[in-house]
Point group: C2
């Protein structure tokens, strides 16, 4: 192409795409970037700087977990026939069906190695050794790394929830949407602590850190007839990083951070993990209720249906199943070759336990969430961000359960249709994609070695699905050993040790690393066109909603941070921080001004140690229980946003404690002792924003006394 042609093409391109927003051609190198560059916030974008110029009031992101093109086709074939069409899923991105549409593929790789070493492992000198950039690019992502990609714009390691390869928390879409005054929602058929919903709730080095006791279900461990901290101690901390737990001065487990993130609407499964106990021996359900959440527990369908409002004073936490929610169909069992499978193809049978039978399908969740968010004051004024996940496409694909994955795909399709019946695509951007592709392949005939299922499609044809990616034997004998090969290939050879007896042990099929379909309708939809990366999706959504995307802009969200030192009516000192909207974690240091000695400080051993920000709410910082200011002594409390670097210093003096103690009414008589705020520099001292910010970090705010009781402790 000669220069004239390029110029002509470029001009034409600019003209032609004007209706779709100011898109410009991405300039990416043929050879990929290095791991260090990829690991930075936004570093893995393929179309950095390419934005549509349209804004969406609302964004709904539909995630079919594990829903690659093959899984979509499997379900379409079965449910609607090979030539059939999904009413919702296939409509998103379809040209002409919305003012703006887009379809493309995105890459989903993650970073780091898969060695399984803890990110926070330390050497003999106490230095962290788990830097995941020490590894390489990982072509196949898990759900947590992929979810972190679109939720934060940062490429990270498998197992990471909204932390980068060094464990540093990265702000997610719900935190940023809340900072922009939007309503927010998070809906799934999985346990709400599972990776895909978790990336909108929390920052965790380990995705399995569901609660302070890991994946304990809150049952009576020691059999003494009650559940208390002794049971919690027996349960241990599961896979949680010790320094992340609140008991150890960390930001807390995924469930606890969910309460801090405080989305307006949260609906899913995983109820039992809220039976875990916090460091005070209260259940997380108790904590949720104490903090104003409307709680709906496992099985309470009526409670779900009765929900009529959701806002920051009364957010909804509805977890309708103990674990992952039941699938629409009973499981099918993949098996080795058999002529019978062709002669009698599988027809999926309805699962009586599916909540959809009682009016609580994913479509019902979606309708409820949209209604609640639209009526929410922030939603009505500023719009909303909502994520809806069909989770068990992945989970049942892992199990080689074709009917399970198909039913979940149907649920997701119907949820999309439900959304389309509610929203206006002139102001709402709807995106449908997946976090990674999966195992199931539609093949010509039953494969010889791999497991397979033959399904009878809606149109009478048969889909043969191969499941062949397990890295462990898919048939085991009673001892868990692989069955002998003759049996595997030829069927039961007459001994007691047959494949037939252990057909349930289907191993664990693998995610795949292929590029994935992403489709969108509504303002900003065209940004998904062509080849992008999963992390580009963060920018697509955040830009459409007008959220802070780059690190500087995110840091500036903490420019208005303020801290008040308060004295409780029980005489205890604590601090309340507000406006650290560019941060997920705060650290603090309390210094005796005369001696310069540190009287108390937060744990900062890891990036997830410290105080979790209650997003856009008041964050309470409990000073040590034994801290009582000496009369006449002067102190400085320095609170620093660990993401923004913004610091607030509050000077205060010790004084005779006189408080209006009113037993049973905690907080009523709390007094503000002193307050401070982030001080802005008088004039820019440097050329770049970062230089200005660097200076801002050094400026100390002066404390000033005032009486102001706004919030009770949370």
């Amino acid at each position: 192409m000669d220069t004239k042609k390029v110029l002509k093409g470029a001009i034409a391109a600019l003209t032609s795409v004007a209706a779709l927003g100011a898109l410009t051609a991405p300039a990416f190198a043929t050879e990929g970037k290095g791991v260090e560059e990829l690991s930075r916030h936004g570093g893995a974008q393929r179309i950095a700087g390419v934005y549509g110029n349209t804004k969406a009031t609302n964004v709904i992101l539909f995630i079919g977990d594990g829903m690659g093109d093959s899984e979509i086709t499997v379900a379409r074939n079965y449910l609607h026939g090979v030539n059939g069409t999904f009413d919702g899923l296939d409509k998103i991105g379809q040209a002409g069906s919305a003012p703006e549409t887009g379809v493309g593929q995105y890459t989903t790789f993650s970073l780091g190695n898969n060695s399984g070493d803890s990110l926070m492992a330390k050497d003999k000198n106490g230095q962290l050794t788990g830097n995941k950039t020490a590894g390489v690019i990982t072509p196949v992502t898990d759900s947590s790394a992929s979810g972190s990609g679109w939720a934060t714009g940062t490429k990270t390691y498998n197992n990471a929830v909204d932390v980068d390869v060094k464990g540093n928390p990265q702000l997610n879409l719900i935190e940023l949407a809340k900072a922009a005054g939007k309503a927010t929602g998070n809906v799934t058929t999985a346990e709400i602590q599972d990776a895909t919903p978790a990336v909108l709730e929390s920052h965790s080095t380990e995705r399995a850190c569901y609660g302070p006791q890991g994946k304990w279900d809150g049952s009576d461990k020691n059999g003494d007839g009650k559940v208390d901290l002794e049971d919690a101690k027996l349960a241990g901390i599961g896979s949680c990083l010790a320094d992340q737990l609140k008991a150890n001065g960390g930001i807390g487990s995924i469930s606890e951070q969910l309460l801090d993130t405080r989305a307006d609407v949260t609906i899913g499964g995983g109820s039992k993990y809220f039976n875990q106990l916090d460091q005070n021996g209260k259940t997380l359900w108790d904590d949720a209720a104490a903090r104003g959440f409307q709680t709906v527990k496992s099985g309470d369908i009526d409670g779900f249906k009765a929900l009529s409002e959701a806002n920051q004073d009364k957010p909804v936490l509805a977890l309708l199943g103990d674990g992952n929610l039941p699938t629409q169909y009973n499981p099918s069992v993949a098996s080795k070759y058999s002529a019978d499978k062709d002669a009698n193809p599988t027809v999926c049978s309805p699962n009586d336990n599916w909540l959809g039978k009682r009016g609580a399908s994913l479509a019902d969740f979606t309708t409820k969430a949209i209604d609640l968010l639209s009526a929410n004051p922030n939603g009505a004024k500023n719009g909303y961000f909502l994520q809806v996940e069909g989770a068990s496409i992945d989970k049942q694909d892992h199990n080689a359960n074709a009917c399970g994955q198909i039913g979940e795909t149907d649920d997701l399709d119907k949820a999309i249709s439900a959304a389309l019946a509610k929203v206006d695509l002139n102001n709402t951007l709807v995106i449908v994609t997946a976090d990674h592709a999966h195992t199931s392949q539609i093949v010509e005939a039953q494969p010889y070695y791999a497991l397979s299922t033959v399904l009878k499609n809606r149109d009478g044809s048969k889909t043969v699905i191969s499941y062949g990616t397990s890295d462990a034997p898919v048939y085991q004998d009673a001892n868990g050993d692989p069955i002998d090969g003759d049996e595997y290939k030829q069927g039961d050879n007459g001994d007691a040790n047959t494949a037939e007896k252990f057909a349930g042990a289907q191993g664990n099929m693998s995610h795949t690393g292929t590029q994935l379909r992403i489709a969108a309708s509504g303002p900003g939809a065209s940004r998904v066109d062509g080849l992008t990366d999963q992390t580009d999706n963060f920018y697509t959504i955040a830009n459409a909603l007008g959220l802070a995307t780059d690190t500087d802009a995110q840091n500036r969200l903490s420019d208005g941070a303020k801290v008040e030192v308060k004295k409780a009516d029980d005489g205890k000192y604590y601090a309340e921080a507000n406006g650290f909207n560019g941060d997920a974690v705060l650290s603090y240091t309390l210094t005796d001004k005369a001696s310069g000695k540190t009287v108390a400080e937060s744990n900062s051993a890891t990036p997830v140690s410290g105080v979790r920000v209650a997003t856009t709410q008041t964050t309470t910082i409990d000073l040590p229980a034994d801290f009582t200011p000496a009369e006449g002594a002067n102190y400085t409390l320095t609170v620093t946003g660990r993401q923004s670097g913004k610091a607030v210093n509050v000077d205060f003096a010790g004084a005779k404690g006189t408080s209006d103690k009113t037993p049973g009414k905690p907080g009523k008589g709390d007094q503000t002792v002193a307050q401070g705020e982030v001080k802005k520099p008088a004039a820019p001292l440097g050329q770049t924003g970062s230089a200005v910010l660097g200076v801002a970090l050094l400026v100390l705010a002066l404390g000033a006394g005032a009486l102001c009781v706004k919030f009770a402790r949370r």
Copy 2:
């Protein structure tokens, strides 16, 4: 969505997509169509009637055979790193990189069953029993059904080459482009008779009917030191349907029809099949040369490079390898689990036999084709249609040969880049897609049962590729039996019958039936957006080029058909047909007017019996050698286009034969005896086009004498 919203959305949609052409929302049923409807021309379209309003002067269609999203990602990971980018492949469809772009998915299913019964099998009464609509939808296509889909717009059965489920020839893009005065080209790395190129050359009930002797390579079968019809007899007719062969009054094999279709440029492999013999004992190479083709045979790279023009008088037929062309990399061998594969990942080694080393890569073919077609008089005036296939992505995926498929993907990418360097995307539509997806999956770890290969990527990371879809044992012993299971799972157990010894027998991996990526840049590109069917691609291309798409419009291409009865200088009678541009096959009947008896007629036992139309050229119809008109007798020759139904009747009288016989110069003295043409009705007699056509078929044209020798016999 309420009515007002729908209206508002629809108006906004129309406004917004104005820049992309007059797209309207497709109205498809959720449930798919039935097999009968799907089997009709255009019946499987998902977006029928949705057209962009822009026309392209040229269209280049790039087909990566078997190149699903997984195959694209495998190759990108290896060649450019997981975050890397294909310079050509990834650019097509990328928003902002062309005035108009589009990306979507399409379905690729085929029709009929896979029973293997011949479509033309007959019952005891001689009735055809092979109607493929008697079967059902086939979720996994082969390359011939899929190619027929985009080449003709008609969904058909696996094994079909441009014939529908009843064996009726369907006009293809090259035939239609020629009818519209365009230049045409067909380029591949496969044997030129292979399904993907074949769908632009021929109509065949069996894809394996490469030549009149099937897949014979033209070697000396009886060892008598020469190759003649005796060898041809020994070679038999392979998989060809007997009634399709020219010797039996049929339209001929794929290679022979290639000569009738007469694209301006044909480049690929499969040279050896042109060593087969026609019914006169001449090689097909001889036939090609006699018909004016510039022939370049296997290995003649200099001949390829020297090609400087290509047009209808001197079309190019360059077949640079005997079979499929060598791949860029030597094969890798997939194998069962081994720790060594992770420790020492595969790096592909260059294949010394790759033609790219000598300046004849697929990119070189593409550059040459574009240069020739642009300089071609028709191309310069009316534009061109060119298909370029990277064939061995599929072939090596079948073989579980990762390096093979990767090298071919690289070749295709570079061919696209070569095209982008030549064309103007303001007037040229470039489409990149595949015919079906394939086996290779990128997984987390080596699978337990499936074969796999671990590749070292450009960025240092490792891609683990699983091949697990073979329906036959992938390891065999010396007898072709599957090896015993213990060996398969545990390695060589010490006997002589080990997997290691037969690692080359890798079985045949399966195509997959997942929806596929299609991407486009240039005028009309947006029509590939969203979900379409493979047959929609025919309409996308044909509409952009302004070709006849619907059956009526195609039939009208034969409105100007004329037939001349001629007497050769050797006294033989024959006819020349022109203007049957809406037909692929002609039938004829020669009647004695006085007695009403049929003197001679073409074979019409099957839809592929009869006379193959020499597309937009003069078609010669040889009357029986023993036909000599009786003096004073009157005859009617009726020639009917079997697709259009248009008939031409030529009346002529027997007369004393006087011809200027000039031995050695056949055709010089040929005389036109009589001529006729399709007669149009004076006025429309019916409401619909089809009624009018029905009437037209009944109208007999009157013959008239004239001397007119335009073309020598071909």
